[in-house]
């Protein structure tokens, strides 16, 4: 019989949640094993980086890539797997748009290090800071240099599919694996290149069971400051800055159904270039005032616009990073 299609899963800078999500698909894992020849999956198996280099270009059928690009090594692996893979999937929020760690792009990388090494509990002892090359009594030691900004996978290589979520929901992962297997067996069509898979085409409100009326907001409220959160009414209408309206559907509106605002981990909907732009315009639209001063007062109740609008998508946004971060180094 002909050999099985090859499967790879790899991460760059990520937290491991995506891997856990994949493991949480339970029995489906076995389908992967029966239908694919798993050639590279460092967390799960004996994988030789060099073996991948040795493979023919395009010989891996499906590669799930999670994590963002934070250093040269991340980029190297990304480019290698792009060359070796027929279908490269940006898997999870980090790979798709940078995720929470992308917020680092609001400050220059040196500031990140300085801050981490000047906390209240850190010894000021000879103001030690990590250096990329340092000589110790026993010899020289090297640390990889951090890139000035976090970047999503697609800013380094072209990506065939995007699978959003922090992490992607297990049932969605299972569905995608099913689809690919069917496609390989010629029983199904793969979506057009560049498409987003394992998610809905609309936004979270579509899956949210909360009732909605016409929105008019005189002030945004912080969830912990609300005496009584109405369990059935749209959170945004209660003044809670919920990202649901702009966030792609697919999770099943988990957070809103748990009484917490959507924080936007599934990224933007189809055809959108910049998540923040969509959410910004949505919030601006529901502000109930035409008086410049009052508008400013209302906007003051949103203490952190950049963080609110780009919580997950900053690295993948049109601006990508603050100017000071871009210009660092």
């Amino acid at each position: 019989m002909t050999e099985k299609p090859k499967f790879a899963m790899c991460w760059a800078a990520s937290c491991g949640g995506c891997e856990i999500a994949v493991l949480n698909i339970g029995e489906k894992i076995l389908d992967v094993d029966t239908n694919f020849d798993v050639v590279f999956w460092p967390v799960a198996m004996d994988a030789k980086y060099k073996d991948v280099e040795a493979m023919a270009d395009g010989s891996i059928t499906l590669t799930l890539f999670n994590g963002s690009i934070r250093n040269s090594e991340n980029e190297e692996i990304a480019r290698l797997l792009r060359r070796k893979s027929k279908i490269l999937v940006a898997f999870g929020s980090c790979a798709c748009e940078g995720c929470i760690p992308g917020l680092a792009n609001l400050s220059p990388v040196d500031e990140l290090i300085d801050t981490a090494f000047s906390t209240v509990s850190t010894d000021p002892v000879n103001g030690n800071r990590p250096r990329t090359s340092v000589t110790v009594p026993d010899g020289d030691l090297h640390l990889p240099e951090l890139y000035p900004v976090v970047r999503p996978l697609s800013s380094v290589v072209s990506v065939d599919y995007f699978m959003p979520g922090c992490p992607p929901e297990s049932h969605q992962i299972a569905a995608v694996i099913d689809l690919v297997i069917k496609a390989i067996q010629g029983e199904a069509e793969l979506p057009a290149s560049g498409a987003t898979i394992g998610a809905g085409g609309s936004t979270v409100c579509d899956e949210c069971s909360r009732t909605r009326a016409v929105k008019k907001i005189k002030a945004f409220t912080r969830i912990q400051e609300l005496e009584e959160v109405d369990p059935d009414l749209c959170l945004l209408e209660q003044g809670i800055p919920c990202n649901g309206p702009a966030t792609r559907s697919g999770c099943g509106a988990l957070c809103p159904s748990a009484g917490a605002q959507c924080i936007g981990c599934y990224g933007h909907a189809d055809g959108v270039i910049d998540f923040g732009a969509r959410l910004m315009t949505a919030f601006a639209s529901v502000i109930d005032s035409e008086d410049p001063e009052e508008i400013d007062h209302i906007l003051d109740t949103l203490p952190d616009p950049a963080g609110q609008f780009y919580r997950f998508s900053l690295a993948g946004s049109l601006l990508g990073a603050a100017r000071s971060a871009w210009e660092a180094r």
């Binding site: 579509d206 270039i273 601006a284």
Partner: protein
């Protein structure tokens, strides 16, 4: 770097790379004088070929028939599916070139104008930088047009009836024109009678023919016309729907007179014991009864009971009118009544309010007895008026020996209104003439500038000059009765600067007439909102285009005429009434209306029903379909502003004609990002 806008799927309907023709107009030397058109054309050829440009030409006058033929020829020969004309502002020639394209078999919306005249050659001087900017502008237009979709204009049926709001001469004119053409009209007037301000005048400048003589026949035929439903003592409460299909709700205020019984004999008015100062028609100079028709020639002839002033309504007894009415038409139980009507078009001719001269305290109106407002003076000179046409002081007897007429009261004055009320000069000249004619008094006209532009106006000015009226050029500082010398005793002294003589003057007179400004109706902004149109900051209704479309508004099917759009004399007002009627008739004639296909549209499968957009449309075009949990947009109500498109957090609303694709591509084109290669590891398959 930003990846280039690539051709292909997203770009042109026919798939693959579009075939764009670019035409650079010299506009004689208007453009070519500043922009190096040859350099521009060759740059387009060289750099934009990869973007789909297959033909680039420059030509002396693209808008000429030869220029248009040039495009038509290329569309055929080079199978162009897109056209960019780099010329003047789209507001000038977009229609021209789109029509040219349509004639050549290309959908007109696949043609874009790049304004390199108004926005480049006319505003910049340095050829090099102007040419560079022109390149960017054209590049932007090329990227945009590549993503234009062929569009078809929307068509909606037109209800043949028309609502005319305002029974002044403008409204009457419009109503008659439409009715004469054989279509039903509802003429709504808030006062008891139609006629408006014109009914209060005696003579009309410059011909001095009697106002009543020319107006009354019009009022009568409007009142009796089989196609006109007169709704006086009525106001429009609300308006729904859209062009061709409006529904208006009208409040018919209680008249307390059953017009089916009333013959208009007038006995009730004789018998009514209650006299009321008539502040409206008689400008406070005369009296009327508590049951009244505003003036003898009123149309309709039925009176109304002035409820707040009627003894019965105050004290609960009297009912004199009821007692004496031969037909038992009086009915105190009457209540406001609401009627809803369906109409296809609306004409707003709501007129103006007169500036209250009390506001200019230094002129003493209301304080100094013999200072009169222009309207008071109109009534005084009216043979049917309170003084039977006698020009006398407040005492009602003494003829003035000297009269001062002050122009521009409340106009051309930054404290009140910056604009010129346009009729005051002629009105003041008319007053001067009437004073001379009827009293032989010395007349002074105090003016800032004399404005007599229209037909036979300046001749009238010359005539008044010859009659010996004295003209003092300068703004009057004050009117006072504080005499400084024997000559001023018991007189009104007009303190003014004589800018021709170059000195201050004090001129004692017996009577002062203030030519008050015309102002927008107090409630003009509410009215505008009700009809979905807008007002300028000083309160006049805004026309769709001040020159090219003066009687249309941004809201299709709602037209404006007369002083509601700004001060006008009677001829201009009548002309506008007729013009509005003509526009309405045009629509009715077509049976359906073509609407610009620039509209917003919901991609239902992307709509999450978040309802962010629901409150954004002032035209109520956005509906939430509760059972399906999605929002939809009514294309007929949508005016195409695109606010909801920009607001949709899901990117689920498309803006036809101004899609994100088009605008973003244009931005990239303007910034010349479209000339760059991409820099990522490409996909394999």
């Amino acid at each position: 770097m930003i990846a280039p806008i690539s051709g292909g799927a997203g770009m042109s309907g026919n798939g693959g790379r579009p075939r764009i023709g670019v035409y650079v107009c010299h506009c004689g030397s208007n453009i070519a004088g500043t922009v190096d058109v040859t350099e521009l054309r060759t740059w387009v050829e060289r750099r934009l070929a990869a973007r789909g440009v297959v033909v680039a030409r420059d030509y002396k006058f693209m808008c000429s028939s030869l220029g248009q033929d040039l495009i038509a020829k290329d569309i055929a020969e080079h199978r162009l599916d897109r056209v960019v004309v780099a010329a003047c502002s789209p507001h000038l020639h977009e229609a021209t070139f789109r029509t040219a394209c349509r004639r050549a078999g290309l959908n007109p919306y696949l043609c874009e104008l790049a304004s390199i005249r108004e926005q480049v050659s006319w505003v910049h001087t340095d050829t090099a930088s102007a040419t560079e900017k022109a390149k960017a502008v054209v590049s932007g237009a090329v990227e945009r047009v590549a993503r234009n979709a062929p569009l078809e204009t929307l068509r909606v049926p037109v209800h043949p009836a028309t609502l005319v709001v305002g029974g002044g001469i403008a409204g009457i004119q419009a109503a008659l024109e439409i009715a004469e053409a054989g279509h039903p009209v509802y003429l709504v007037e808030r006062d008891p009678s139609i006629g408006g301000h014109m009914a209060q005048f005696d003579k009309t400048f410059p011909t001095l023919d009697c106002s009543a003589c020319i107006l009354t026949p019009r009022m009568v035929s409007a009142g009796s016309h089989e196609n006109i439903t007169l709704l006086t003592w009525s106001e429009v409460e609300r308006v729904d729907g859209y062009v061709g299909n409006f529904t208006a709700t009208i409040r018919k205020k209680a008249r307390y007179v059953d017009i089916d019984q009333c013959t208009g004999c007038g006995i009730c008015q004789e018998k009514c014991p209650k006299r009321v100062i008539d502040n409206v028609y008689e400008a406070g100079l005369g009296y009327r009864k508590a049951i009244y028709t505003p003036f003898p020639q009123a149309v309709p002839k039925y009176p109304v009971i002035d409820q707040p002033n009627c003894t019965y309504f105050i004290k609960g007894k009297c009912r004199a009118c009821e007692k004496f009415c031969p037909t038992g038409a009086i009915s105190f139980e009457q209540e406001d009544e609401f009627v809803t009507i369906d109409v296809g078009n609306i004409v707003l001719a709501t007129g103006y309010d007169l500036f209250d001269p009390r506001r200019v305290t230094q002129y003493g109106y209301g304080r100094l007895a013999n200072v009169f407002s222009s309207l008071e003076f109109e009534r005084m000179t009216n043979s049917a008026g309170p003084t039977n046409g006698e020009i006398v002081l407040r005492d009602g007897r003494t003829k003035p020996t000297s009269v001062g007429i002050i122009h521009c009261v409340g106009s051309r004055d930054r404290n009140y209104n910056n604009y010129c009320s346009s009729i005051c000069c002629m009105q003041s000249l008319k007053f001067a003439h009437l004073v001379k004619e009827r009293t032989g008094a010395t007349v002074y006209n105090f003016y800032i500038d004399m404005r007599t532009p229209a037909k036979a106006y300046d001749e009238f000015y010359q005539r008044v000059l010859e009659e010996g009226t004295l003209f003092v050029r300068g703004k009057v500082a004050e009117v006072t009765d504080a005499a400084r010398g024997p000559g001023e005793e018991g007189k009104l002294i007009i303190q003014t600067e004589d800018t021709l003589a170059g000195r201050q003057r004090r001129i004692p007179v017996d009577m002062v007439v203030l030519s008050a400004a015309l102002e927008p109706r107090k409630d003009s902004s509410e009215v505008a909102k009700r009809f979905g149109i807008s007002c300028s900051h000083d309160g006049w209704f805004i026309e769709k285009h001040p020159k090219l479309d003066p009687v249309a508004t941004m809201t299709e099917g709602v037209f404006i005429a007369g002083c509601a759009t700004g001060p006008k004399d009677i001829p201009a007002t009548v002309a506008q009434g007729a013009a509005a009627a003509a526009r309405v008739l045009g629509y009715i004639q077509q049976g359906e209306i073509e609407m610009e296909p620039i509209r917003a549209q919901v991609i239902v499968e992307r709509c999450s029903g978040c309802r962010i957009c629901n409150d954004l449309c002032p035209f109520n075009a956005i509906d939430f379909i509760a059972d399906r949990g999605v929002t939809e947009i009514n294309p007929a109500l949508c005016q195409g502003c695109g606010t909801c498109v920009a607001a949709c957090p899901a990117g689920a609303i498309e803006g036809t004609g101004f899609s994100n694709e088009q605008v973003v591509a244009q931005i990239d084109g303007l910034l010349l990002r479209n000339l760059e290669p991409t820099a990522v590891e490409p996909a394999l398959v």
